[in-house]
């Protein structure tokens, strides 16, 4: 159970606290034993995971710093199943002494014990990659960073698995006078490069869609590929929020009780949770039968359980939703348009909603026609907090929502409860401070009813936009077809009439074409009503 314990702590726990509470070795050891849970099951997936963790970090840091992200990614083959991976960003960089802690220690990060809509939600990302690198190649990772202070830090790091502490192989600070900010991380790993559906390239392409304000350059085995920036606007900065009592789990509550600075249960409830005021806090205490003045650090397990149950019973306001930072329709459209060659695009952003006390927001987009292959199932692009999800598609709430939406009424072919067929790409973005993944590899969303409902509502709205477009397209095609019919016969009619009346043929033709233009230019739904429906006999006598 060590593993689950550790992973449950992802939400709201500082590394220091963690270290106190647990044997520190457990983290790194756990990783070593369970790397498949973290996306390092095989060399193919591992290569993708390393790139993904590093790029996600880079995007987060640039966005935090409010600069338009500029990211370089290099994957250079180094013999059989071996790659050198380099990721560089234009984020704020990291101060020299923080670097070993940030990268040389698992579950250390700036994101513990706060809920915020960010890509990486726990401190396993980059350090996990470093650990994987050293496990498979035995080599240290190079980190170079500057915070625009004229100095550049160079580190070669490894992680001491027994102690979960950084092991500095080499360290240098050079006063080179260069003013730049950002971070460059370079490591060698065991990996396999593939093309297609679950490749690094696909991940970067999808990332480019939901991060259209980022400029991404990829130098891979197939050459250099650039994903150019398509928008110069960052989404609003997500706000941190405190956990809401409805969204909390017992384990986390126990740990929060342990580490809180509050001196009484009452102030613990009002200070460490959102939407809990004095009245609600008193009510929680009353329902749980606990004294509001109890020292939270001294609450016993069975008391914590009572508290836990009481928290769910008391009526509270829904958590604030301004902590979310969706892309919004405009950026979503820009992302789709710049990476996909299609004839029609649409995007829908739903208002924020709440599942189990966690605010979340769903948005989706569609690209239709153009160069998208008309055969086969519609491609579904899944995202959580702007990060593409490439694995476990079948288990994901997004895929289930797409399959259980009736697309036939919106103009796509579909057999019952399966992904529709047609020249379309459907994108769904799930944004939340706490993404409910079904497993630790963070590739599929859990299908909570509230989440399914929101995704389906978003898809239906998207479907309506698609069907509106398709109806218009059919109408336009009908009118073009109609016009073509007239245009085909006009020369014959003009010739016959001119021959009979001696009126200039060209003149008749031009007049007829003008009428054709008027008759077919405007959309006239009843264009072809019959004066009298006649059925003339076809007998030849």
């Amino acid at each position: 159970m060590v593993g689950t314990e550790v992973l449950n702590m992802e939400k709201g726990k500082s590394a220091e606290q963690l270290a106190k509470e647990q044997r520190e070795v457990s983290v790194s050891e756990f990783f070593e034993r369970n790397r498949h849970l973290l996306g390092y099951d095989n060399p193919t997936k591992a290569l993708l995971t390393v790139v993904k963790e590093l790029v996600d970090n880079s995007l987060d840091s640039a966005e935090d710093h409010r600069v338009l992200p500029r990211i370089w990614v290099v994957a250079k083959p180094k013999g059989v199943d071996r790659f050198k991976i380099m990721v560089k960003d234009n984020g704020p960089g990291m101060i020299d002494k923080q670097i070993p802690l940030a990268f040389g220690k698992l579950l250390y990060g700036s994101r513990f014990y706060k809920l915020m809509m960010t890509r990486g939600q726990q401190g396993l990302g980059a350090s996990g990659a470093i650990l994987y690198s050293q496990l498979t190649t035995g080599k240290p990772t190079t980190i170079i960073s500057s915070t625009a202070d004229g100095k550049t830090s160079f580190y070669e790091l490894m992680i001491d698995i027994k102690t979960n502490k950084p092991e500095i192989i080499s360290h240098q600070v050079i006063n080179d006078g260069k003013i730049w900010h950002g971070l460059k991380i370079e490591m060698e790993i065991e990996g396999k490069y593939i093309r297609g559906e679950r490749s690094v390239l696909e991940y970067l392409k999808e990332t480019a869609i939901t991060n259209p304000y980022a400029d991404i350059t990829f130098q891979g085995p197939d050459g250099k590929i650039e994903f150019k920036r398509g928008a110069n606007k960052l989404p609003k900065l997500p706000k941190e929020i405190k956990p809401h009592p409805y969204g909390i789990e017992l384990g986390i509550l126990k740990r929060m009780l342990n580490i809180t600075r509050a001196k009484s249960l009452l102030s613990f409830l009002t200070n460490d949770f959102s939407r809990v005021g004095k009245t609600s806090a008193k009510q929680i205490c009353k329902v749980s039968g606990l004294n509001p003045n109890l020292d939270p650090h001294k609450i016993e397990n069975h008391e914590a359980e009572k508290l836990f149950r009481a928290m769910k019973k008391v009526k509270l306001l829904r958590p604030p939703t301004d902590c979310l930072s969706p892309l919004e329709e405009d950026l979503l459209l820009k992302g789709l348009q710049k990476e996909i060659n299609a004839e029609f695009f649409a995007a829908v952003t739903r208002p924020p909603s709440v599942y189990r006390g966690n605010p979340f927001q769903v948005e989706c987009g569609i690209a239709y026609g153009g160069e998208i292959a008309p055969e086969g199932s519609v491609k579904i692009m899944r995202f959580s907090n702007k990060v593409p999800l490439l694995y476990q598609s079948g288990d994901c709430a997004i895929t289930k929502a797409v399959a259980t939406t009736d697309w036939s009424r919106y103009g796509l072919k579909q057999s019952k409860n399966s992904v529709p067929v047609g020249p379309a790409i459907i994108l769904v973005h799930f944004a939340s401070v706490w993404v409910p993944f079904i497993s630790e590899s963070k590739q599929a969303l859990a299908a909570y009813p509230a989440i399914m409902k929101e995704i389906k509502l978003a898809l239906q709205e998207l479907g309506r936009k698609l069907s509106h477009y398709l109806a218009g397209k059919r109408r336009r095609e009908y009118h073009i077809k109609r016009k073509k019919i007239f245009e085909r016969y006009i020369p014959v009619v003009a010739e016959s009439l001119s021959h009979m009346t001696k009126v200039n043929e060209e003149k008749i033709k031009i007049k007829l074409e003008k009428i054709a233009e008027e008759k077919t230019g405007v959309v006239n739904e009843q264009g072809d009503s019959e004066e009298i429906n006649q059925s003339s006999t076809q007998n030849s006598e």
């Binding site: 109609r482 019959e530 030849s540």
Partner: protein, 358 residues
């Protein structure tokens, strides 16, 4: 007549050009030729076209093609009249058939497409195809003591050997020089015609013998009417004993739905039916030589029962007998009683006793 038709064609073209010049969707007005607009006139015993018309607009996907085709034919006929030449409707079809530029579409795909357009034009202009210088496919032969002049040639219908005179599609300009006959006998089948011709039936009984070869062509129907109207000759019709035979008689007598606009030129309301009737089968002991009627025959016979001109006790009795016995018989069934039975016994007896159906 043709000159008048030519004028109508040109006027139609001017009407359309005028509409086009005013930026109006041009149209053709065509009387409707379906049950809803064709009625039997009890007074003259003919099928007549009613007043209902449909407007075929060019800028209507359903009619654009027909509109184009109508003008093609109109233009073609104007030239025919101008140059005073005639051509068959088949020849016209081939003349006008061509592929529209940059398409796989032809002006006409089959003759079935051009034939009804001719009727459209006839009805629109209130004229006949003869006046458009179009000739229907010719069918039908005639023999008898008659001399005529056709395009200046003197033709004696009694001296044309075994073949008889082939009736042209336009008989309007034929001049009758001498007509020596007491009645006209119309036979549905050319084989029957040949039998009677060989037996010199027309000579013995002083009549004009006409073979229609199935449903009579316009020229044949017009000729029957002219002989009936101009020389007051009674017309007797001999067909197979089946629904189709009765229908042929009906067309000769009252006209057809499709050509209702021309009934006055083509119908002979005073025509009588000589045979073969269902009751003849029993009377002449032909039961063994009958054929089982098909479901379609019976269905058709039931329709005949409702025709207004068959609303008399004789026809009702005969058609009901046809439906009841579910049998039909060809004219040739009479040969069971000897090859010359038809000429020596059957017809003479019928004529003598005036055993006709109205």
């Amino acid at each position: 007549m043709s000159k008048e038709t030519q004028k109508k064609l040109i006027n139609l073209a001017h009407k359309i050009v005028n509409e086009i010049n005013h930026g109006v969707d041009p149209y053709l007005e065509i009387p409707i030729r379906s049950l809803t607009n064709v009625k039997w006139n009890e007074k003259d015993g003919l099928l007549r076209l009613g007043e209902k018309k449909s407007k075929r607009y060019f800028f209507n996907v359903a009619y654009a093609r027909k509109f184009m085709q109508t003008l093609l034919i109109a233009d073609f006929c104007k030239d025919l009249i101008e140059e005073n030449i005639h051509t068959s409707i088949r020849d016209m079809y081939y003349n006008l058939k061509r592929t529209l530029p940059d398409t796989k579409e032809n002006t006409f795909e089959t003759q079935d497409e051009s034939n009804p357009i001719i009727v459209d034009l006839e009805t629109n202009l209130d004229t006949l195809r003869e006046n458009l210088h179009l000739l229907a496919d010719r069918k039908g032969i005639v023999a008898g003591n008659v001399k005529i002049k056709d395009r200046g040639d003197l033709i004696d219908w009694s001296k044309l050997g075994s073949g008889g005179w082939s009736i042209p599609s336009v008989v309007e300009d034929i001049k009758f020089v001498k007509v020596n006959a007491k009645f006209v006998l119309v036979i549905e089948k050319n084989a029957g015609f040949e039998r009677l011709h060989e037996d010199k039936f027309w000579q013995k009984y002083n009549c004009i013998l006409i073979g229609t070869g199935g449903q009579p062509a316009r020229g044949t129907r017009r000729l029957i009417r002219r002989l009936n109207q101009e020389f007051k000759l009674p017309v007797y019709v001999l067909t197979d004993n089946d629904a189709y035979g009765v229908y042929i008689y009906s067309v000769i007598k009252s006209g057809s739905m499709a050509l209702a606009h021309a009934s006055e030129q083509l119908g002979t309301p005073s025509a009588k039916f000589i045979g073969l009737t269902p009751s003849d089968v029993k009377k002449y002991g032909l039961e063994k030589f009958t054929i089982k009627a098909t479901d379609r025959d019976i269905k058709r016979a039931k329709e005949l029962l409702n025709y207004p001109w068959f609303q008399n006790k004789e026809w009702q009795r005969e058609i009901k007998l046809m439906i009841k016995t579910k049998r039909k018989a060809e004219i040739e069934a009479l040969s069971a009683r000897g090859l010359k039975f038809i000429t020596e016994t059957y017809l003479p007896e019928k004529l003598k006793k005036k055993e006709f159906l109205p």
